[in-house]
Symmetry: C3
Subunit: 297 residues, 3 copies
């Protein structure tokens, strides 16, 4: 067998306190020592499939081609399928549970070209119990993929359309407000919204931001340093989406924002176009999000 | 010198906030750049030798052969010995303090075939102070072992029986109850007990679980997903031991369990065999645990 | 192009919860797959340039020659310069923001031999927003340096003296007390002071330690294990500085110490030399600290 993929990217909700991540590394290395493992993060919130899927999708444009091992798997050992999904006609393969975790990244990569269910025990470890699929199923399969085992050796092909989709919330316009949602709060407390800068361009430099019982005025800024003390800023973040930020503080903590918080944005002076969007959570690819909104208008 | 071991597995209580782990990596790499370091975990609770020893023992069956560097070392700089313990006639060598940390893993690997005390300063770094033995003694020795320096170069051979043993609590039977103890609470809050599934098989699907002042009925389940909301489950975990679990919640937090908590399990309907075990904490190998219980009966 | 540096050491305040570190790894690997990345720490407190600079300086003597990528960057995207600083006539290059983060380590390595501002976009990634310079500027430049791109390709040379200096507090003597400051609290809660053991040698084995409203008697010990229960110890730590320690407890928590806390040390019996130091925070190299004090006397 010859090395097929030399990079294995690994994301999970295993945390870094227990030895889970290290054991999976060791299992992979014992099967395919030539591959290099890049740890994306292992501190996805426990069981948070949506957060893991979004982290993977945000990273996708920057990942080395190869195998992606992703495990956020509340249904481990149950009927949920274990899958490997090929993208780019074999450029990369994503391995994990079929619970929507892989879907946003697969969409970012142009969709699945093939997919298999990981049913062949030849490529699994014998396990005393069924609860550590990263060690016993996903990790070994990912390593064997790197080592050159063909995709179809791991189990029967399944239809890509049968995969559980990822659910990404879509913004909409109602009564002149852009109704958005916090997608992600990063470690600095910046709160990423599901909107592009164009969606609020018409509001100008000062935007009215409404969430919970609060209404705040936010300034549109280009860098963290441009925010005044205690000001709320809106910034195009490093992923091209609009984030709510506070200078050198956690916007999330100081404003009470968390993933899923509804945030409404509007302008101050002029009348805006009164859109009438309807969509709430929709099955949609991240990269197709803007298009989806266009249809809503 | 030729590369003797190409994998160095590393566990510690150094945490990931300070630069300790990175500095040890750097020291190892400067001595033996060809070896690959697998980080098992560095978030063993500070000074918790037992927890570190159990993590190493749980991992042992999955580790690549090579050098294992383990540092949980409250007695650093004091009279406790620094040691290297060979297992499997040289298949692997464990390096760390002689405080019981290595013992459970050594036992899992069939016991020590040789051991040395790390007294030769040739293979240590000169240190401004004696408190960072991972950087100054254990790390450099581990790296030199990878690079091919023979075990006996590091210091005088010592008798494996002279090594400080690990203490693993053994379950026992009293008045029809299995008296167990929480060995480990993982990051999801699952509480692993020191019992095999066979020890509670006679109780059937519903087991009475007693701890502190509480008595709860637990259902024996095969997967996390099979536990009902707010139910307590007993599950054969990925190490073949019985864990107390709650679906998508921390069993440990919701029930108040922590490592060392005494847990008594019993059946509901039938009279059980009235065992009369006695052992409490015993010097014992993990793999010999069941045998030890057999003797108790 | 041929590999110039085979080790890239990486420190940041990105944390390990988000995928930032993994994405930077992936970007580096896509540019220079042959280099090995050593993660020093990514849990420098957010925006804490001083803490990051001290961690880098503490590590410097133990780092493999190569490229050092350091990102603690509250001014990301603003006018602060992005720089690469060569030390040891090319033995190593440090890459990061020009905000004082690199300065203490550069000083430890004997000062800058050359420096450039990273203005050439050829070696940057195109970015949707300006807030992730580790991914878009510093990481790619560090990787290209490893791959053999000459330093001066990245932008115009700048004068090393123009670099923002690091600020390291200097101890001083006043009324027979050594007035020190907590530099660092490590994960065990040991509180490192900015003093050498010689500075308190005259006080003997028992030292009066004053901070906030408290006065405590500390014993000078050689190992953690030598501290009595609930005693306060003073220890020469693994960096050759004096640390305040409590056995198997956090000295910082139990005494209320944190980085920046002023700590005054004095003897009990004899009259000491009455020094009259004046310096407070001074621009100074870590390695020149003692010399600076000499001048104060």
């Amino acid at each position: 067998m010859t090395l097929r993929y030399d990079t294995l990217t690994f994301l999970s909700d295993y945390g870094l306190v227990d030895e889970f991540v290290g054991v999976v590394h060791s299992v992979i290395r014992s099967i395919c020592p030539e591959t290099t493992i890049v740890d994306l993060t292992h501190q996805v919130a426990a069981y948070d499939v949506r957060a893991g899927g979004l982290a993977l999708a945000r990273s996708a444009p920057y990942l080395c081609p190869g195998v992606v091992l992703a495990v956020v798997d509340p249904g481990v050992g149950s009927a949920r399928r274990a899958i490997a999904v090929e993208v780019g006609d074999g450029m990369s393969v994503l391995v994990g549970p079929d619970n929507g975790l892989l879907a946003p990244a697969v969409a970012m990569c142009g969709g699945a070209t093939r997919a298999v269910e990981l049913t062949d025990p030849t490529y699994h470890l014998e396990a005393p119990g069924p609860t550590f699929a990263g060690r016993d199923i996903f990790g070994p399969v990912a390593a064997h993929l790197c080592a050159g085992v063909p995709l179809t050796s791991f189990g029967p092909e399944i239809e890509p359309v049968s995969l559980v989709p990822g659910l990404i919330p879509v913004s909409r316009i109602e009564d002149g407000e852009v109704l958005a949602e916090v997608l992600w709060v990063d470690g600095y407390g910046n709160a990423q919204l599901n909107i592009d800068p164009e969606e609020i361009a018409e509001f100008g430099d000062r935007v009215c931001v409404r969430f919970g019982d609060e209404v705040r005025t936010a300034r549109v800024v280009e860098t963290y340093a441009a925010i005044g003390p205690n000001d709320v800023g809106l910034l195009v973040d490093s992923y091209g989406l609009v984030s709510v930020v506070v200078e050198q503080q956690s916007a999330a903590s100081s404003l009470g924002l968390m993933p899923g918080t509804a945030v409404a944005l509007s302008g101050f002076a002029d009348e805006q176009d009164q859109g009438a969007g309807v969509g709430v959570t929709t099955q949609v690819e991240l990269s197709a999000r803007r298009g989806a909104r266009e249809e809503d208008r």
